[in-house]
Amino acid sequence: MLYNEPSPLETRVLTRRFGMPNSASLDTYLATDGYQAFVKAAAMKPEQIIEEVKVSNLRGRGGAGFPAGMKWSFVPRTSPKPKYIVVNADESEPGTCKDRVLMENDPHQLIEGVLIAGLAVDAHAGYIYIRGEYRYLIEIMDRAIAEAYEKGWLGKNIRGTGFDFDLYTHTGAGAYECGEESALLESLEGKRGIPRIRPPFPAVVGAFQCPTVLNNVETYCAVPAILRDGGAAFAALGVPKAGGTKMTCLTGHVNKPGVYELRLGFPVKQMIEEVGGGIRGGKKLKAFIPGGSSCPVLTAEECEGATMDYDSMAQRKTMLGSGGVIIMDEDTCMVKAALRIMRFYAHESCGWCIPCREGTTWLRKILQRFHDGGGVREDIGLIGDIAKNMLGRTFCPLGDAAAMPTISIVEKFRQEFEDHLHGRPCPYEAAPAAVGV
């Protein structure tokens, strides 16, 4: 089901079946060109499939934005080892709730995307790693998988193509870090989710020490449309170097928060005003996070002329990330926001790398003290210093993910830290109480 009204400004490619009766059923899927992309791909050479994905300019939708076709091409297809397809459905980047709706409303689209990836790299088994909290989605995916087996879209000699593929769901049990690809693979192997040093990358040494394609749910879900309509058509929906649409989660202080499928390159202002219905209560925009709490924060001025794509965000020294847009109005306390973000990373740091384990914990303590009114001026510089010393000094990007928003908030909203000095209570929280709200 859908939890918010769709917007007329959406470009519906991955969500085109959303809202149809029984959109999650195999019957609906087959009646709307379902599995036709797989049939087409099964008649193609693997190199042609990968080429089509390269032409589409599909970039990884989990956050890093790595070109999917290139990632697939790194898999040593002729290796005697088995190869695996792993789906990252451990959606847990704060601000992000898109994979949920993709699996809930169109599970077969994900299965078909996985099958096509399997054809491309000669893999015959796949795992969908779903976060433990998404139990109902495991049930939905299990039902869809059972249905696909029953009708011959999974299993041995799929629909007479000679291609075999087995697909399984695998539940996580509560760990943000397991959304990081190498930690996910450790967890899939029944271990603590601690990141692996790279290289070797999962394409060469992944699940069970075998070559593995590991992509986000949304990335696989884009693949059937690419094969069906052609890579060029998908590329044309987006911007140069990044094709297609992006599942965008509008969260925070907008009138119409929700998950919307927008073409890459969609203007930020139009997204907030027209898709999101503007800032709640007619307030002004203070801060904008484009793709989950790991991204550097933009000010309202920096959002001028910005578009939702990788390059526009990179020019502003932030990232498109996962598509988890976090919108904060003029009344938001940025110290409190920074504190809450850091509490999360301190909780979720796996503890493997010392700069991340110690850095997140100390930053949490300093930010907490600051917000409580016990901060001193020197702390402002110290917050930035600690965060900068975490950058690039860890096995996985969690340390960076904690440092980047913090650095940007301290630099861009320094005045708010100054406002918390001298033992005053948080000026943003004190204000409403003074007028009796």
Binding site: T96, Y136, H170, G258, I326, R340
Partner: protein, 160 residues
Amino acid sequence: MTFSPQLEARFDKLLKSYPPGRQRSAMIPMLLYGQDEVGCVSGELIDEVARRVGVTPLQVNEVLSYYSMLHRQPLGKYHVQICTNISCLLHDGDKLWERACRKLGIGHKQVTADGCISLEEVECIGACSWAPAVQVNYDFHHFVKPEELDRLLDSLREKP
């Protein structure tokens, strides 16, 4: 240790889902599904899962302490998880959390005296666009207003 036929069937399926010699992969799912039936990750469950996946109980212990959803002590019959992460915070998720604590008289990871409800302040549960969000066991509740939280908590007390 005996489990329900449904859980046994699930365990069998899990043990067949991974490549030969990789049965350890089933450990975390077995612990979580086992916990759902047993009420917590008991010592007995640890021993049983260890035996079935072919590792030592110590190895299971080492892994389970990493995962926030696995609990060694029983939770309430209804485990109420309130998200206060950034997107929920912007919709007063923190106030919702404080309200629940006050109403029930318990705090983070505590259980009411009758064993009915436990509370946990959780990190992002993936309901950011429909904030503030609450999860009761595995059921999501979206756009939760303060008075709706009160009604929800009351209804759990009355549930069989």
